[in-house]
């Protein structure tokens, strides 16, 4: 038997890979398309700005949109200084040592913990032991810890990519280390840091497991940080799982996915602009 021509195999393989990639990409496009097509008819101003009635069977999703924004923004408010501060410490204030390795180990480990364990921890620590109850505050603190590794890693990368010469110039002009960081390093690293922040917001918005056991699932708009509330993701989960209303579920899914995708697209856009500015 003659050996099959390797060029022929090469062609076949190429076709297979092309088709495979096309297939994979289609699946993901189909997912987004379904959400858009199925959800579109149900999303209107009333849906966005009205409160749910009858467990969400009727009305809108306003409290859960507000709850999502509250949760995401407050978590970012806590996590950004902590995360950027950690990144600054790791890049500017120390050399690689056992101490930095230990901190990096902590960050990596936090990044690897699945969200249900964050939920478990937030539940026992914030909700039960610190007696916060199911509340916005417990949710915010849990999500803060959960998104911290993302912010640390993206900020560290952004800070590291600031040219060393800029720091040297700043020092030579009699700046202290902190002045140099504040006036030169952070402005130059800002786009990268912003990207990390936005990716974290996306994560907070889409999270369910860690939120539902800490912030609870009250349908009312949280008016203080000690109130329970639900995010869009939690609302969607309850609508879908308990079969309350498929229409409202699709509508909520559309608003949810659209917000996350637009936050993430914005994040990539900012990052891309920053990269092209430097090169």
């Amino acid at each position: 038997m003659r050996r099959i021509n390797p060029r022929f195999i090469d062609k076949i393989v190429q076709i297979v890979f092309n088709m495979q990639a096309f297939f994979t990409v289609s699946i993901l496009i189909v997912i987004v398309a379904i959400i858009f097509i199925k959800g579109f008819p149900y999303v209107n101003p009333e849906f966005i700005f009205a409160s749910p009635e009858d467990m969400g069977r009727h009305g809108g999703i306003f409290p859960s949109i507000a709850g999502t924004i509250q949760l995401a923004l407050l978590s970012i408010l806590f996590a950004t200084p902590l995360g950027v501060g950690t990144a600054i410490f790791l890049t500017e204030y120390t050399r690689e040592s056992t101490f930095t390795k230990l901190i990096r180990f902590g960050v990596e480990s936090l990044a690897g913990i699945p969200s249900i364990l964050y939920g478990l921890f937030g539940f026992i620590f914030f909700v039960i032991k610190l007696k916060m109850g199911w509340s916005l505050l417990a949710g915010v603190l849990t999500i803060t810890i959960m998104i911290l590794p993302t912010i640390i890693r993206t900020s560290e990368e952004a800070i590291r990519s600031v040219p060393r010469q800029l720091r040297i110039v700043s020092y030579s002009l009699s700046a202290t280390k902190w002045e140099t960081i504040k006036k030169v390093v952070l402005p130059a690293a800002a786009p990268g840091i912003l990207t990390g922040i936005m990716l974290s917001i996306g994560r907070a918005v889409g999270e369910t497991a860690a939120v539902i056991f800490t912030m609870g699932s009250s349908l009312r708009l949280p008016l203080s940080i000690m109130d329970s509330g639900r995010t869009m993701a939690v609302h969607f989960y309850i609508l879908a799982r308990e079969g309350i209303s498929m229409e409202k579920a699709y509508g909520t899914a559309l608003v949810l996915v659209l917000s996350i995708l637009s936050i993430n697209v914005l994040a990539y856009y900012v990052m891309h602009r920053a990269i092209s500015k430097y090169s």
Binding site: P6, R7, D10, V13, Q14, F17, N18, Q20, A21, F23, T24, V25, I27, L28, I31, V32, I34, I35, P81, L82, G85, T86, F89, Y93, L102, I103, G106, S109, L110, G112, I113, P114, I116, L117, G119, L120, F121, I124, L148, I152, T176, E179, L199, G202, V205, G206, T208, A209, I212, F213, A233, F236, Y237, R241, A253, L256, V257, I260, L261, N264
Partner: protein
């Protein structure tokens, strides 16, 4: 003025150290509080009766989670069986076959999809995959197979992104050397590029596994949550994560402690996976 700046300098340093330590503190707290709640039951009921036990009836003193451990691994392996070949071939396509333009467009687009919340995947699984399995293959449709399919798709972005990075970082000279010896593109990929990107690809699989085994909301929506080891891929099953999420909101007493014991087991598995993934990645860098 200058004294103020220098004083601030020292103050800032201490604040930053405190910030940096916060990550460690949080990790420590998570560890301690999950262990503190989860370990007592191990002592009371016995490690073997929990990890090796088959019966989960927490209100009647049975805390066996063996079927859930097995199920967690089964869905993870199932997810990998579907996600790994698809993800890897997609990564190969992107790094070796697609044009620069397609690459620039598709890679971020695929990564964006990592942001789609798991509840949405779970929902779509219930609406589309579960009936498909029920109608064509039988059973209730809430099954190991459906769960594996959904998890397989969910881990695609992770696998594609990380194996793509591994493939693209194979030095150009390797490719050129292979082409120069008359190898075809596929021979080059198969014999040169894949072996040199091996550890990175492996790391992407392990990270994908980590995501699959830790996934919760999508799983409880489509797995059926039955309390036994599935006999076939069409049987329903309950994972460790699902067990926690399904019962945490109403559990109390020993029942709640049992959920934390489940959490401890999950945490140990995740730690082992992370260790393996980090080890793999470090070896790649060392090379």
């Amino acid at each position: 003025m200058i004294e103020k700046a220098l004083l601030k300098e020292r103050f800032v340093k201490w604040v930053l150290i405190a910030f940096a330590l916060s990550s460690l503190l949080f990790l420590f707290l998570i560890f301690i509080f999950i262990l503190a709640e989860g370990l007592p039951l191990f002592l009371k009921v016995g490690v073997g009766n929990i990890i090796g036990g088959f019966k989960w009836a927490p209100t009647r003193g049975s805390f066996g989670i063996f079927p859930m451990i097995v199920s967690s691994f089964l869905v993870t392996i199932g997810a990998l069986a579907i996600g790994a070949p698809m993800g890897l071939s997609c990564a190969i396509y992107l790094s070796e076959y697609s044009g620069k333009k397609t690459q620039m467009l598709l890679k971020p687009a695929l990564e964006l999809l990592a942001g789609i919340p798991s509840v949405v995947y779970g929902f779509l699984g219930v609406i589309y995959i579960v009936p498909l399995v029920r109608n064509y293959l039988g059973g209730s449709g809430f099954s190991l197979l459906s769960t594996s399919i959904i998890l397989g798709v969910m881990i695609l972005p992770t696998i594609i992104s990380i194996s793509f990075d591994a493939l693209i970082s194979v030095p150009k000279t390797y490719r050129e050397g292979s082409f120069a010896m008359g190898a075809t593109k596929w021979q080059t990929i198969y014999k040169v590029i894949l072996p040199s990107a091996k550890s990175g690809i492996l790391a992407s699989f392990i990270l994908g596994m980590g995501r699959a085994i830790g996934e919760t909301m999508a799983v409880i929506m489509i797995a059926g949550n039955a309390l036994k080891i599935p006999g076939s891929i069409l049987d329903p099953l309950r994972t460790l994560t699902g067990n926690i999420a399904l019962e945490l909101s109403y559990a109390s007493g020993d029942h709640r402690l049992g959920l934390f014991s489940t959490g401890v087991v999950l945490m140990v598995i995740i730690m082992i996976l992370n260790y393996i993934a980090n080890f793999g990645i470090k070896r790649k860098i060392a090379k």
